[in-house]
Amino acid sequence: MSASEILRELDSLKDAKAKIEHKISALEAQLKEINLRNDAAPPNGSSPSYPTNGLTQDMIHRYSRHLMLPSFGVQGQANLLKSSILVVGAGGLGAPALLYFAASGVGRLGIVDHDVVELNNMHRQVIHTEAYVGKPKVKSAAAACRSINSTIEVVEYEEALRTSNALEILSKYDIIVDATDNAPTRYLISDCCVVLGKPLVSGAALGLEGQLTVYNYNGGPCYRCLFPLPPPRTACQSCAEGGVLGVVPGIIGCLQALEAIKIAAAVGEPLSGRMLLLDALSGRIRIVKIRGRSVHCEACGENATFTQQKFREFDYEKFTETPLRVPPLKLNLLPSESRISTKEYSEIILKKEPHVLVDVRPAHHFKIVSLPKSLNIPLSTLEARLPEISSALKKEEEKDSGLVSGSGAQLYVVCRRGNDSQRAVQCLHKMGFTSAKDIVGGLESWAYNVDPKFPTY
């Protein structure tokens, strides 16, 4: 058997195992319920009915710690069991939220996600396990929810939310949880919630900061009331670009679960008209008062004409100038003679051609991993550090005395994905380094096309 055959076989066995385990736990739960019912039946056959407000013996046992809370109690739990919550995004925010929704007994739990589990998700998306790397997040998250609580209904939507499917999906749920990671989807979900009249529990996290609020609840503002115009695309960093400390979306996701559970159970005071701001690094949480519903809001304002029809036709990608499915930006700023491929660069190394390689990533990226003998000059400091490049080139030329005079040492520029390196080469050309070339596709291309052992991040 070849390695790939073994891997395939392993995959299908694991799949079968997960299915069997789920079946076992569902049957066990069923059997237990039957036994309990039989045990409870008194010997003379006439079963007395105990008033329990519609909760079964199993439910009372499972949710007992909720039931004992004076401010939550039987009514809160009964409301929760009857409720339905849709979580859009099974990532860093959705992961803990889903776990708590399943555990607390939300009657019907929907999960929307189109991505697969990746190893670099796992530090924060704690619902997924290593066995699911490469598999759909929806499948992984649904399996985890079912293994926590086999008595609730879990519905899988393995697709991206779009104007064409959002109305149909969202309309089946009482409460919507926005656990997505991009601006166009956030506008899309908010508008859809306004059109359908659903409360929206919205969370976001990046780096070491998080934000949380409830939109469109009981006359409160919607996302557009707060942000009528989308931010410029360059202001929207993703976790993949900017990084994120795993526990930060975890905290915000847990708070989203709390707010949604409060609304579903009809207890307490939802975080509507207020916003929670978390600054994890300084250990500070501030809750601020935000504006109410705006009369001028295009979605929910007094004269708003935002109908289901208009929603279906609205172009969220154009509005936010951001594609819904965020592909890595691919610039093409340079003529082909000013660019070389990673394969070509690997030959330059092999032939020991005299050259200087400048890595223009930020210093904290350079520390993660770098190509041998590269010189780290972050793009933002490039203009000020040109003399360093000149002297590195000179040194390289002196080292190779057999050089044909005038040909000099070559100058190459690399970055993570090949965008900043082009910007840098443009700048270098302007500053007189006319032969500078960028390495197409950056270190990611190096790992992909030259050395699969090169660590990517």
Binding site: G89, G91, G92, L93, G94, A179, T180, D181, N182, A183, R186, G203, A204, A205, L206, G207, E209, G210, Q211, L226, F227, P228, L229, P230, P231, P232, T234, A235, C236, Q237, S238, C239, G242, V244, P249, M275, L277, D279, S282, R286, I287, V288, K289, I290, R291, S380
Partner: protein, 99 residues
């Protein structure tokens, strides 16, 4: 006038990666009050070190930036016309989209 200015959600990157700035702003001749409009132009001149377009658009903040005066949305106090007082805390925070 002594004010505490805070930048968050990535806006701190525009001012030397420093989040909290305790500042002392001298009032213009004859003026006895400072509005948010005055403060924005002061911040732009004195604190924003790079990419001012990531902070402002026209004479106000760019879309996607929340402004809070003493933990309250500036929409509720008159936006650019909000009058500031001694020791006020003004927060500029960029909305996050990650998850």
């Amino acid at each position: 006038m002594q004010l505490t200015l805070e930048f968050g959600g990535g806006l701190e990157l525009l001012c030397d990666s420093k989040k909290i700035h305790d500042v002392n702003i001298e009032l213009q001749n004859g003026e006895d009050k400072l509005t948010m409009k005055d403060l924005l132009s002061w911040v732009r001149t004195n604190l924003i070190k790079e990419r001012p377009e990531m902070f402002m658009k026209g004479d106000t903040v760019r879309p996607g930036v929340l402004v809070l005066v003493n933990d309250c949305d500036w929409e509720l106090s008159g936006q650019l016309d909000t009058s500031l007082e001694e020791k006020d805390v003004v927060v500029f925070i960029s909305t996050l989209h990650g998850g």
